[in-house]
């Protein structure tokens, strides 16, 4: 990869990684690790439709994710159906459909990401959307954590928990759509979950937890992209390996 392209992908990696780590800290607190993972699979048919219709795959992925979060939200709020089972069925189904309709040449990229092809316009968009996501997460952070600790307590002090949950899911959709460019639909779960899991090992309070999680996301994504170009590997798996290395290091320094 030439130097300019490398810097461009590292910048995108840094922003998307930061946003993923920050958001991931909330997903881990809400015990949504597996939902996040399954959700990222929904992006695949969206990506495929984007490719087939010649629109930017990011928008296809975001559209599919948006539909999926509306569905989750409705299932959680309007029905008594077990969310977990539905998520499991529906999301693996969309992965299967995605595998069938994604054009063969793009399939690997869609599954495992490829940031080396980033053009400047995409990079600018990714940075802007990441910044929006970071600001939005910051805005709802406290209210969402309180709602996670006790929905009743949060409601009793006037927090509109359903609305906050919905905004949260919207941000999840946005970040997953951004992140699959880097690590692909199969590995996106790792980019949001692993930095937070590592941060949780090292934090005694929320500021440290959120900050470290964001930082680990940034290091994993930017560092992983750099390492991948150095070793001439595909960036997605290297990003995930980098974050996993941080996680194992965090176990050594774990605070009780």
């Amino acid at each position: 990869m030439e130097i300019n392209a490398l810097i461009l992908s590292m910048v995108v990696g840094a922003f998307v990684g930061l946003a993923s780590g920050y958001l991931g800290s909330l997903m881990v607190l809400r015990k949504m690790s597996l939902v996040g993972d399954a959700l990222s699979h929904v992006a695949l048919p969206g990506l495929a439709v984007g490719l087939l219709w010649n629109v930017n795959p990011f928008f296809g992925a975001f559209g599919a994710l948006f539909l999926a979060i509306i569905l989750i939200w409705l299932v959680e709020n309007r029905t008594k159906l077990p969310t977990e089972t539905l998520v499991g069925i529906f999301f693996t189904l969309s992965l299967a459909i995605g595998l069938i309709i994604t054009p063969e040449p793009e399939l690997l990229e869609a599954l495992f990401g490829d940031i080396s092809q980033t053009v400047p316009l995409e990079a600018v968009l990714a940075v802007i959307f990441s910044a929006i996501a970071i600001a939005a997460v910051h805005k709802i952070y406290g209210r969402l954590v309180l709602g996670t600790m006790s929905n009743d307590l949060a409601s009793s002090v006037g927090i509109k928990t359903k609305k906050i949950d919905f905004i949260f899911l919207l941000i999840v959709a946005l970040i997953v759509a951004l992140g699959i460019k880097i690590v692909g639909t199969l590995l996106m779960g790792a980019l949001v979950i692993i930095p937070a899991a590592a941060a949780k090992n090292l934090s005694r309070n929320l500021t440290a937890y959120a900050g470290l999680s964001a930082l680990f996301g940034l290091i994993s994504a930017a560092g992983g992209v750099y390492l991948a170009s150095l070793l001439n590997f595909s960036p997605g798996p290297i990003v995930v390996l980098t974050s996993a290395a941080i996680f194992f290091l965090s176990l050594i320094f774990k605070k009780s």
Partner: protein, 240 residues
């Protein structure tokens, strides 16, 4: 001067059901300023559901009327935190206020002494999930009285509270009630507590089995109807 006779809450024929399951029905009571009402009943009799209805968190039939401008503090039975949950006591207070002064005042009034620096060192840096049962309850009460509520809804945990200690949670609630004319509705599992601290008691089991001053309504017949025969554990011994 606060009008101690002012009625701040009235419920009429309150009923809650989930789908076709009737949790309770026909619950009517009122609370005046500074009054303490205990809610007793067996497990699953709908005590916590009653609180959720009073807070407007679930749909109900009948009427719940709060006086105008009444501020409600709520202490839930538990929070969904484990010892790894990365939220410190200080974080928890920051969810509600930015004022260090208010936090110190609230913590002092529940028996954590010292100024902000001391409390920061001793308590605010601890994880919520690492507090003992008694500390946790006092933190929860401090949190709920931050905005100086008129009434406190206190859902007593079934376990995990240190027995003994210099000051029990009920002495503390009693002091708060006296010093700030706080009305309290408390869900309790201990009838001795009810005798000692409550002005009146609501016995809940599908309906109001009894309602009135503890010494008048907590008789063998009512208790037997409420708990189904296991009353000898709960009989009050005078002189406690």
């Amino acid at each position: 001067m606060t009008d101690m006779t002012e009625k701040i809450l009235e419920t009429k024929e309150l009923a809650v059901s989930f789908d076709s399951f009737n949790v309770f029905h026909d619950i009517s009571f009122d609370i005046h300023r500074g009054e303490v009402m205990a809610v007793v009943g067996p497990n699953g009799s709908g005590k916590t559901v009653l609180f959720r209805a009073l807070l407007g968190l679930i749909p109900f039939q009948g009427a719940v009327s709060w006086a105008k401008g009444i501020k409600i503090g709520y202490v839930p039975q538990k929070l969904f935190v484990d010892s790894q949950f990365p939220v410190s006591v200080g974080d928890f207070f920051k969810f509600k206020t930015k004022s260090e002064e208010a936090v110190v005042e609230a913590l002092n009034s529940v028996g954590f002494t010292g100024d902000f620096g001391h409390l920061k060192h001793q308590l605010l840096g601890k994880k919520m999930g690492a507090l003992s049962g008694g500390q946790f309850q006092r933190v929860m009460i401090a949190w709920s009285i931050l905005n100086k509520p008129d009434i406190l809804l206190f859902d007593e945990p079934t376990s995990g509270i240190d027995v003994g200690g210099e000051e029990t949670i009920y002495n503390l609630l009693h002091k708060l009630q006296k010093s700030s004319h706080l009305a309290i509705i408390l869900i309790s599992h201990d009838l001795n507590i009810v005798y000692k601290y409550a002005d009146k008691v609501l016995c809940l089991n599908k309906e109001a089995v009894c309602y009135g001053p503890p010494h008048e309504v907590l008789n063998t017949a009512n208790l037997s109807q409420l708990y189904g025969g296991e009353t000898k554990f709960y009989e009050h011994k005078h002189g406690n």
